[in-house]
Amino acid sequence: MALFETAKKNRYQEQFEQVKPKPPLLKNLVWAFVVGGLICVIGQMIQDAILKVGLGKKEAAAMTSVVMVFLGALLTGLGIYDDIGKRAGAGSIVPITGFANSIVSPAMEFKREGFILGVGAKMFVVAGPVIAYGMVAAFFVGLIYWLRH
């Protein structure tokens, strides 16, 4: 009986796979490439401008991140970033602007639950794992660096 049930389920899953609409792969790739590339070009332009003002290379890189995070947060607040993300997918998730979007969007969403239990607690529901495992990865990379030098 259990075997029959499993066979029935597998057959249904196969049927589903046959009619499941596929994402338009080429279109999505082009969008991701163009939008992701554009974000990087904007970042580069900002970095060049900051370098021209006379900041050092390290400071300019940090400053660029700050500006890009600000832009990502601003576009999220204006309700534009999710429209970009709908088309660009990973193209707008991977750059640092996407990271800003992943923190600002839950912060906006949960403002109605108050600043402590809403904004404060829920701000990292999406970005939390990135931060947690990013720190773990950084620790191990640091360890390897420390052992080799």
């Binding site: 389920k9 589903f16 499941k20 993300g85 707008s92 979007n101 969007s105 906006m108 529901v125 999406v126």
Partner: protein, 352 residues
């Protein structure tokens, strides 16, 4: 001693006792007094207003918030408005004896806060998107059983409240897969009365939970299709009816993919519904509205029935309808714990 045990068995086993007088077959209840759907009311958001039913909906919101301070409050106010409006069209709120209502949110938040100012006896229902037919079925039992003369049924859903509970913050820049459906913002209400003019509920089939092992909460239509198939097949078996008996068999919110799967699934069982079948999830939005596989939510079947089918039935352009609202009974927690999706569907036969 043995004899006593045997007697107990016969008391609960319908095979020995025979069916109760208002039940036919295994799962179908009949309502001999033919409770009448005396009125309906609909309210929906702006996106639904731009859709296929736009000009048939009683009231359209200008935006998804409608002047409230949260989306949950908007959903509650929509449900309250729909119930008041439907009751108003059928003799006034004070004549309603029981309210049956439900929505998609945890602890039925939209429903409970929408009902609290109405001051009427109330039972909250959860059947996910199948709640509308569940409400009609239970209201049929209450009215036909002689427990009330007038019962109001209301359901609501809201795109933004559903998104933030089940999926992601609404401003997060994610790509929805093509199989995903769009939760309808809206509420629908009907008043079921013992007497009056209009389409009547003649019988109803209570569905069983069917789980075909689907785990992707984006693919709710495909997950629910086997549950709809099971209930439809059982309904036809219990009543001895042919699918052609109905002018239309309408499922709740299977969407384009689920619809295709249901037709194929029933064909395998030897039931052909391809000529008189439609899915309410395919009747709300236009293709250009970019909602992918169609509409979903409690309000999906309610809006289509109240705004479209009810009108057609009153005009006698449709005489026999089998409404099969479908529900996906997963939760965000069950999904995170890698559970498969249990689904259900209840069928209501509406005739004039």
């Amino acid at each position: 001693m043995n004899k006593v045990v045997d007697m107990d068995k016969s008391a609960v086993n319908p095979a020995i006792m025979g069916n109760p007088e208002k039940k036919i077959g295994q799962q179908t209840l009949i309502f001999p007094s033919r409770p009448v759907i005396a009125s309906t009311a609909t309210i929906a958001g702006p996106k639904e207003g731009e859709g296929k039913l736009g000009n048939r909906i009683d009231r359209l919101l200008e935006d998804n918030l409608d002047g409230q301070s949260s989306w949950e409050k908007t959903e509650s106010s929509m449900l309250e408005w729909a119930l008041r409006e439907a009751a108003g069209k059928a003799g006034g709120l004070s004549t309603v004896e029981v309210i049956l209502a439900g929505d998609l949110l945890n602890q039925l938040m939209a429903t409970h806060f929408g009902i609290r100012n109405l001051g009427l006896p109330f039972l909250g229902l959860y059947g996910a998107c199948s709640t509308f037919s569940m409400g009609l079925l239970l209201a049929g039992i209450i009215v036909d059983g002689g427990f009330a003369n007038k019962v109001a049924i209301g359901v609501s859903s809201h795109h933004n409240t559903a998104e933030r509970q089940y999926r992601f913050p609404t401003e997060l820049g994610v790509q929805r897969p093509p199989v995903a459906q769009w939760t309808v913002t809206g509420a629908g209400a009907v008043v079921l009365a013992k007497t009056g003019e209009g389409p009547a509920i003649t019988c109803a089939t209570i569905g069983k939970i069917i789980d075909m092992g689907e785990t992707d909460p984006n693919a709710m239509g495909p997950a629910m299709a086997p549950a709809a198939a099971d209930t439809i097949a059982q309904h036809l078996l219990d009543t001895g009816r042919d699918p052609k008996y109905y002018d239309l068999i309408a499922t709740g919110d299977l969407g384009t993919v689920g619809k295709t799967l249901l037709i194929a699934f029933l064909k395998d069982k030897g039931v052909d519904i391809s000529h008189n079948y439609e899915d309410c999830g395919c009747m709300i939005y236009h293709k250009e509205q970019d909602v992918h596989a169609g509409a979903s939510g409690c309000a999906c079947s309610a809006l289509v029935f109240c705004a479209e089918f009810y009108r057609l039935m009153r005009a006698k352009a449709m005489k026999r309808l089998l409404l099969v609202a479908t529900g996906s009974l997963h939760s965000p927690t069950s999904y995170q714990q890698k559970e498969t999706i249990p689904c259900i569907a209840h069928a209501i036969s509406i005739e004039i």
